[in-house]
Amino acid sequence: MNAATASSGQRHLTRSRKSRERELVTPEGLALPLTLASRGSRVGALVMDLVFLYFGTGLVLLAIVMTGINLFSKEDASSAVEALEVVLILLMFLSHYGYFLFFELGPRGATPGKRLLGIRVAARDGQRLTAEAVLARNLLRDIELFLPVQFLLYMAFAGVSSNGVMGWAAFVWLMIFLLFPVFNKDRMRAGDVISGTWVVEAPRVKLAQAMSTAPDRSRDYRFGDAELKVYGEHELQVLESVLRQDNPEAMREVMFAICRKIGWEAGGGYEREFLEAFYNALRGHLESGMRFGKRKADKFS
């Protein structure tokens, strides 16, 4: 209702969301809106995944080393120690290359970190996500992540100057890969470019209550055409969210705003009843207009 008073921060938020909206056309010809995952959530997911990965690997490593020490104390157990060594080497390889691959090949197309933040991998062209695509996007992680991070750690310890110009050149080169998602509008990293994928939001939404099942109050509150013409779809949806949040203070404020606008005398005590009645009347009004092909986006149109 009072969209004009929305803070600039909120406006900025909606704009950044707008720029992330994409459309995917299903084989049924239905346009499904997709929202690309924000860079923040992708970094967050990555950090979580790395924590899981290194924590898990660390635990298994510890177990292997403990077993190895135990075996060493016994005599003539060198073949068992060697088997442990093999397991150790293969584990390091698999954790490095297999973790992301394994989870993204699953039915949810997401690593645990991604799943926690409600994002997943999807094919950019609307086709199915293939094993080859997941493979390709994860093979590039080496130069995008592991190599730059190793290099940065090395530089932090050894100092940049020890490498001179070559060190800086390598630094810039590696940063290009690390910062690749910042420089394209689809927020793709190099692996996404190669595999034809992107990362999208995949939230699980719960179905909220139907609004008009509340007791019918169209007899207590009668709204005329002139009163319903004031608002459009945007205001209706703001009203819906106010009703769903069920905050007495906000409902009171909104009721006063509406009454001022339509020239009614506002009385306290029955905010929810009034707003529900107004919501149903306004929605009925706007939806009947829709059926005749007339839509009203907001109060200004």
Partner: protein
Amino acid sequence: MALNLFTRKTIEPIPAIEAASLRSDRFRLEREGDWRRLDEIVTALEKGRARRIADADLMELPVLYRKTASSLSVARETSLDAATLAYLEALVRRAWFQVYGPRVGLAGWARRFFGGGWSAAVRDLWLDICVALFVMVAGTVVGWLLVAQDDNWYYALVGGMDGGRGPSASREQLLETLEPVANAQGLAAFAAYLFSNNAGVCILAFAMGFAFGVPTLLLLVQNMALLGAMLYVFDQQGLLWPLSAWLSVHGTTELFAIMLSGAAGLHIGRAMVFPGQRTVLANAAAAGRRSAQVMAGCVVMLVIAGLLEGFVRQLVGTPETRATIGGVMLVFWLAYFILMPRRRDADEGIAR
């Protein structure tokens, strides 16, 4: 609110359709049962519990998906209930990911991969393989020539870790490095180490292809110059044949894999520089998926190379046997890549 804690888990009954005063809400209540059913099936699929879903439900999944998708398109034109629209959009999206999700499991994928998908992908990369092979041969020659000019190049190329195979080593010392070991102690760990090291290098060579393929070429030249330098040193003592046989046991497989990974890297680099008729992004994606198959194969080859290098080379003695094993492996790979026919459904994964 306290009561809510306990009631939240129970499924709320759908209100009677007549209870709704708005037409669009009645539309919703009529279909809500189907939506909830689809929601349950999709949730189970996402959790990897496909087996627990009743057969009847699974059979009806496509129907429910289509019904819900059509509900969404009707609701978009008739309903202004933002919460319902958001729910439907999320549900249809999730169902879409499951209905059009990958259908083959690991076993099915492996059958398709070894049964023609891999060899077809390798054949698709023929031009890049030619380039990679040329660069590798050139790198070997360069290494040879450099060390032939000045022994110091050997140390610059190989570094300190030459395992006693430097230009200053005598003939006997060089021969000794090619000797088999007496027993198999420690060879398994050695093989595992070789595999993980080589696979890491191969994946790096592939990944660097993203920078238009240039670093991939440099990596190939550098690695092969090392080989050329070593060949020169052994040739000076007249040991070229024993060394070649010693290397060929695993080398034919390992160098083949390195060549393929280099070619795969070049392929994506080339796809981005010369996209042809398609957009850069579309071409890069197609090339990436094709090369990813080749790379998966490279890892398989390197497992075999690691075993050959770790066990067979260390246990088999004479140059003739070693060269025969290496030769057989080379012929096997060539035959497999050239002769294995493309499966009719093998392209599904990378088709547009």
